[in-house]
């Protein structure tokens, strides 16, 4: 840990955060655009934002109604 400078730290963690953020934002956009969802929209919004990684996935799997 000591042999990592701060910029090295950032370069390690930023790609991970960017990926998760991209997934979260896509899920939120799909949620807002969807006409109907399975379950209340506000609840899905909370789940997508709070539950890291698995929240957006759960929304894509179970929240969308196919129409």
């Amino acid at each position: 840990m000591d042999n990592l400078t701060q910029s090295q730290w950032i370069s390690l963690l930023v790609p991970l955060l960017v990926l998760q953020l991209a997934l979260m934002i896509t899920a939120l956009v799909v949620l807002v655009k969807a006409e109907r969802t399975r379950g209340p929209k506000w609840l899905w919004a909370i789940i997508i934002v709070i539950v890291n990684l698995l929240g957006p996935i759960a929304f894509f799997l179970f929240g969308r109604r196919a129409d």
């Binding site: 840990m1 390690l12 963690l13 790609p15 991970l16 990926l19 998760q20 991209a22 997934l23 896509t26 799909v30 990684l53 957006p56 996935i57 894509f60 799997l61 969308r64 196919a66």
Partner: protein, 282 residues
């Protein structure tokens, strides 16, 4: 509906291969539209990257846990680079397989209830093409995701721990890809056999877990068992992770691979039969 119309027009004058490509394109389009093309690779990449990072910081995490008695000395040997990469594979073997099964659990049963399968199968489409197009799309998606995840794990392992030879890393990931495709095929089979999507995912995962458990815990030699594949994959990276049955000869590994391939073929055959018997839910 426009999609099905397009298909109808294309199928009027097409050979078997062209028909199959149309079906495959429809499956792939669905993967894109359901955002599986996005979330499955990202999930694998995040899983693959966080495993080396977590094991790199494990000593610090434990040290800051704070509920250890005074003067406790924790010495965890830092994992070797191949061990770190094998750790990522074990993540894929648990959460990764769960996600793969969940992403394809409704492959057939969902189309039966929505009426899509009825719409497709009234056209002169062989049942085998219907199933194999689904299977190919599923395996392609799973392989892309595994590649993304393994690539991320490899990159982070190289940066944090040191290099792993591709001679070890490549066979390991190929064996694991076969195991993952096998579980995907099981999901497709159970999705064709059972009405409920959740039951299909559960049945596929339970079968995979049972095979894998019996391979690792039963005392006799099981060269035929596909459940050995994930242990074989890890064994390519870390010698001690190989199954307790002892030294693996190359012929042994090929036998497992061949049995898995045959089992996958049989599962596809059974799925096509199940679709022929019940093409749609009334």
């Amino acid at each position: 509906m426009s999609l099905s119309l397009k298909m109808k027009m294309k199928m009027k004058m097409s050979t078997g291969m062209q028909k199959w490509l149309v079906l495959f394109r429809k499956e792939w389009l669905e993967i894109v539209r359901s955002y599986r093309i996005l979330w499955l690779p990202i999930a694998f990449a995040v899983l693959g990257a966080s495993q080396p990072i977590t094991s790199f910081f494990m000593p610090d995490i434990l040290a800051s846990a704070g509920n250890l008695p005074e003067g406790t000395v924790i010495s965890i040997p830092a994992p070797t680079p191949p061990e770190a990469l094998a750790g990522a594979l074990s993540q894929f073997g648990a959460i990764g397989l769960l996600l793969v099964a969940l992403s394809s659990m409704g492959a057939v049963s969902g189309e039966r209830t929505s009426g899509t399968s009825a719409m497709i199968l009234v056209k002169p489409v062989p049942f085998a093409s219907f199933i194999t197009a689904k299977w190919a799309a599923l395996v392609l998606l799973a392989s892309l995701s595994l590649a993304a995840g393994y690539g991320a794990a490899w990159y982070y392992t190289e940066t944090l721990f040191g290099s792993v030879s591709w001679r070890d890393a490549l066979p390991a990931v190929l064996l694991f890809a076969l195991w993952m495709s096998f579980v995907g095929t099981l999901t497709l089979l159970f999705s064709a056999l059972l009405r409920s999507a959740a039951a299909a995912a559960a049945a596929a995962l339970a079968t995979a877990a049972a095979l894998s458990l019996s391979a690792s815990s039963l005392p006799f030699e099981q060269s035929w068992n596909p459940g050995r594949l994930s242990a074989l994959a890890a064994g390519r990276l870390v010698a001690s992770a190989a199954s307790p049955a002892g030294g693996q000869t190359a012929g042994d590994v090929w036998l497992t691979v061949a049995v898995t391939a045959i089992a996958m073929l049989a599962a596809l055959f059974a799925s096509a039969r199940a679709v022929r018997r019940r093409p749609a839910d009334a």
